[in-house]
């Protein structure tokens, strides 16, 4: 078993909390992982990514080679496209459809849609309004994680347990809201 994931977004969107939950699930299943993060200057509204590698064998490189990534998981559509050279031919792209516009010449909606349409295997979803609909506007990243669950090759239960572990000290209400968001995201991916 080996799965390589690129998480992407804009600095401050919260891709690292997705990585932390997957990490918990990975350790609880007794697998190995390496997860590289971006700290420092880019965190100020720049493009950020995290390479997450999971395997039942030893993992060498912290970075995923080009053309070998199984899953791009992105909180922002243009940021999802940035890492396409890393995606496997039959890999999946799961991304939020909501642009984060903090540069002057951000691409037009049509051009962005056309570029996304050219990727055969994808789930594009409005994680923010789905999160709002299930009463948890701040859990957009959990909606995205939910939409990725069919491609993670980890048991859904261990992801849910990861959320419980990470959020338990914030109280039962926060845990339940995040799990509701996770389930809503999963439902969208399963309807595809």
């Amino acid at each position: 078993m080996k799965i390589d994931i690129i998480l992407s977004g804009v600095g401050g969107q919260g891709i690292l909390s997705i990585a932390t939950i997957i990490g918990e699930a990975v350790l609880s299943e007794g697998l190995q992982m390496k997860q590289s993060e971006v700290h420092g200057m880019s965190q100020r509204g720049g493009d950020v990514q995290s390479n997450l590698r999971i395997s039942d064998q030893a993992i060498y490189s912290d970075l995923i080679p080009q053309g070998q990534c199984d899953l791009i998981l992105s909180l922002e559509p243009m940021e999802a496209l940035r890492y396409l050279p890393y995606l496997k031919k039959d890999g999946w792209l799961v991304t939020s459809s909501v642009p984060f516009v903090n540069i002057p010449s951000y691409p037009e909606a049509e051009a962005l849609k056309a570029a996304l349409d050219a990727v055969p295997n994808k789930v594009v979803l409005d994680v923010e309004s789905i999160a709002k609909d299930c009463g948890s506007a701040r859990s957009a990243n959990m909606v995205l994680l939910g939409a990725a669950t069919p491609f993670l090759h980890l048991s859904y239960e261990s992801i849910e347990q990861g959320i419980r572990d990470i959020f338990s000290r914030k109280g039962e209400d926060i845990v339940n809201k995040n799990i509701a968001a996770l389930q809503a995201g999963k439902a969208v991916a399963e309807q595809r």
Partner: protein, 536 residues
């Protein structure tokens, strides 16, 4: 025991705690910051009274650590690569004096300059100081090397450098801990001359350092961190240093078909390398940073084209390595299935919305634009270096910590009419105070803006050494109180700021303007903490 999931930086910190650390000394700098933060947040540090307060700069950090070592206890010193330049004076002399309590000096290099002005390779400094260097390939090794590094340092009597790069510092993996060791008891050198580097003593100590090179060689040769994996095909031999080894093995998951020497400890094990040079037709060196090893082994055996690496052009001379670059060097194909679509644009970092530096730049830009070519703005190192980028485009320089003030003075000496320096509060106390003293003594007609957000912002909001003391420091250095102005950088104060900046730029002597407003990131965090405390 379930492994801990740790960043490379955190693995280093955990190892130091487990190895009986008494103090960590550091100035924040990407990618080294998280080492000290981990120790600061560890309950064990509090319980065992382990020193973990930030130092004012890397030089004070290293010197304080030497004081702790003098008293027999174990200390860790951490900094980014350019910080080693600042600490170079005590570092170079620490190998003359040697140590008593174990001292591990962490240099975190940043190839590809993710968050730095250059990509200098700290192994030069380790070799320059003639001390052992340890270079891990993964998080577990980072842990093991720090744990063993303290012991090595005490056994040979010298500081040991741990050299890491950004990728390892900021990547997480499972790490197994070793048994907790107690802190050393206070004890001193038996040799009263050891730390007194008068020429008469230093000459003796230098001979000792030269003689100790044999011990260091022997240690490298026998080190488990330098592993040799033989193979029958000797058409090539690979020397892979630190995380370079990972990129090699990523491309040969079933095992490398040629002999591999994995380097994790320096000085290079010469006997082993001579053997490889004799047996293999060609040597390929995979190392992160400069061609340090490639060029060193040319001194052991020079034959045109035999030794290949970053200097020969087999691998690129600059930038961070990755599995694709290493694949290409071996003629392996890592083709992409998809190209990056043209709609994808760069998304550079920017100052946060609501940041006080923005309001400062709004006012400064307005004044500077009106002065035309007679005005130049000298920047410094921090979030506010982003004043170079749109929408402000106002900075003309960013060289090193503290250089804004001194470069402004130099340009003034050359005849520039309106030199302006922009420096943050933490950078000012790190290296700007002596620059300001030079300017005061010359009454240089420059305007120094100390943009004070009461924190070390760029690295994530660590305590700043000068908080609450900036005016007192300026006045103490001799700044004229009539030309020391404090402002609150807010939109509503824009007009006032423009007027004060214009007035002080026009004043033909030294002025200091301090726009002060707390960093919005640390302010938000503080409010959250307060709310939590109020709840409890």
């Amino acid at each position: 025991m379930k492994p801990l999931l740790l960043l490379g930086d955190e693995a280093i910190a955990q190892a130091a705690l487990d190895a009986g650390l008494s103090g960590v000394y550091a100035y924040p700098g990407t990618p080294s910051t998280e080492i000290t933060e981990y120790i600061q947040h560890s309950p064990y540090s509090k319980q065992e009274n382990i020193h973990c307060r930030w130092a004012t700069n890397e030089k004070t950090a290293m010197e304080t650590a030497m004081g702790m070592s003098f008293a027999g206890k174990r200390s860790l010193v951490c900094m980014k690569h350019v910080g080693v330049n600042v600490a170079a004076d005590p570092l170079m002399n620490s190998s003359i004096s040697g140590i008593v309590g174990g001292l591990v000096f962490v240099a975190a290099d940043d190839p590809s300059m993710h968050s730095s002005q250059n990509e200098q390779d700290s192994r030069f400094y380790g070799n320059f100081a003639m001390i052992p260097i340890l270079e891990p390939s993964n998080q577990q090794e980072a842990y093991d090397m720090v744990y063993a590094g303290f012991e090595l340092s005490e056994r040979i009597g010298y500081p040991v450098m741990l050299r890491i790069t950004t990728r390892l510092a900021h990547s997480r993996a499972g790490v197994q801990r070793k048994p907790q060791l107690p802190q050393n008891k206070m004890h001193f050198s038996q040799d009263p001359k050891q730390f007194v580097l008068l020429p008469v003593n230093a000459r003796q100590r230098y001979k000792q350092l030269l003689a100790a090179q044999n011990d260091m060689q022997a240690s490298s040769l026998n080190s488990s961190f330098n592993a040799y994996y033989d193979a029958t095909d000797k058409s090539k031999g690979i020397i892979a240093c630190g995380i370079g080894y990972n990129y090699l093995m990523e491309n040969f998951p079933q095992g490398c078909p040629w002999p591999v020497l994995k380097i994790g400890q320096y000085p290079l094990p010469e006997v082993r390398i001579r053997q490889m040079l004799k047996e293999c037709e060609q040597i390929i060196v995979i190392e992160e940073g400069a061609p340090v090893v490639e060029n060193t082994i040319k001194g052991l055996c020079y034959e045109e084209g035999k030794i290949q690496g970053r200097c020969s052009g087999l691998l690129p001379r600059d930038g961070e390595l990755n599995p694709d670059i290493v694949a290409e060097a071996f003629g392996l194909d890592h083709a992409s299935a998809y190209a990056r679509p043209q709609v994808v644009l760069p998304r550079p970092p920017a100052l946060c919305q609501g940041c006080g530096h923005r309001d400062m730049y709004e006012a400064l830009t307005e004044v500077v634009r009106s002065l035309g070519d007679d005005a130049r703005v000298f920047g410094d190192i921090g979030c506010y270096t982003l004043g170079y980028l749109p929408p402000f485009r106002v900075l003309n320089s960013a060289l090193d910590m503290g250089a804004s003030i001194t470069m402004a003075k130099g340009a003034s000496d050359a005849g520039l009419k309106y030199p302006v320096a922009v420096i943050g509060d933490s950078t000012f106390t790190h290296s700007g105070m002596t620059s300001l003293l030079d300017a005061v003594n010359a009454n240089a007609p420059i305007t120094v803006i100390i943009s004070d957000n009461e924190t070390t912002g760029m690295t994530g909001g660590q305590d700043s050494a000068g908080t609450g003391k900036i005016e007192a420091i300026c006045l103490g250095l001799g700044v004229d109180p009539a030309h020391l102005k404090v402002l609150v950088p807010l939109k509503k104060n824009h007009q006032e700021m423009v007027e004060v900046i214009r007035q002080e730029i026009n004043y033909p002597g030294l002025s200091v303007i301090i726009p002060r407003r707390e960093c919005i990131q640390t302010a938000a965090r503080r409010k959250k903490m307060q709310a939590k405390e109020n709840q409890a």
